[in-house]
Amino acid sequence: MSPAQENQVNIIEGLKERIGGGNVLETRIARVRRIFLTVKVEALKAAVNHLAAQGFKHITTISGIDLGDSIGVVYHLDREGLQLSVKVVVPENNPVLPTITDIIPGAVLYEREVHDLLGVVFEGHPDLSRLVLPEKWPDGLYPLRKKHSVEDIKRMVNEVA
């Protein structure tokens, strides 16, 4: 194993030790500087806390993705070029997650964006007001949800505007 690979394996093992192996659902070392993990929602904050303490203080962004009956939220953390993406999955009818802005203040706008476009609620976030959608956008219409086509969205917004 190369030093880089060993380093990546150590990071994953360290995380499992800290939050419990049962809380890490999936691990994938795609290549150098690319780790992908899925963790249980309950373990998200503990995972981010641990990783931030390990030097993953930079959050590149948070990606939300509509998976059908659930929503995937991927936290893209960075440590000197090493990208570690941590995914959690929340049910579509109750998409609630704890905020991580108390650990990584730089996540503040990314959580707001995921809330705006996908409707995920980040409990404890200082201000989840609209970030990118216009003023008169209908409440509850989350454009990145798969159930809405572009034509649907345009029609629904025209009805309100």
Binding site: L133, P134, E135, K136, P143, V150, I153, K154, V157, A161
Partner: protein
């Protein structure tokens, strides 16, 4: 030619507004001001207020957020006034046709007198469009 018309043709004052563009056209509009292209030799001056403008230069594809503002800026301009759509997405939706937050084209909001295509429109094309508009002004 009357004095007012002469002044307008000799020195059209222009207001530039971005309605949701990627900025490529905006920087080419700005480039048209710079020494190499020098739109000022046609008497064109970039102004800050609609009340002083003869020509409204519009870039961008008119997002939902901006449409009302565009219409109000146009209404604030004194007659006779002219609007120029600069760039492919200002003429029609262009590459943004599948985007949910765009109206797609400046003429969906205000009447347009000249369309300058290009993605982005080159400064030479912008100058050409402005000169053609001036010719139209003269002809009125």
């Amino acid at each position: 030619m009357g004095l007012v018309k002469w002044a307008r043709v000799k020195s059209p004052w222009v207001l530039h507004i971005n309605t949701g563009a990627c900025n490529a056209c905006d920087i080419e509009v700005l480039a048209a001001l710079t020494p190499r292209f020098d739109i000022e030799r046609f008497g064109v001056l970039l102004k800050g207020s609609p009340r002083h403008a003869d020509v409204l230069v519009v870039t961008g594809t008119v997002t939902r957020q901006v449409k009302e503002r565009l219409v109000r800026v146009y209404e604030q301009m004194p007659e006779p006034k002219f609007a120029v759509a600069v760039g492919g997405c200002a003429c029609t939706a262009g590459v943004f046709h599948a985007c949910y937050n765009v109206y797609g084209g400046v003429d969906k909001a205000i009447p347009v007198d000249a369309y300058i295509p290009g993605c982005p429109a080159k400064p030479e094309a912008i100058l050409d469009g402005v000169v053609k508009l001036l010719a139209k002004l003269k002809g009125d």
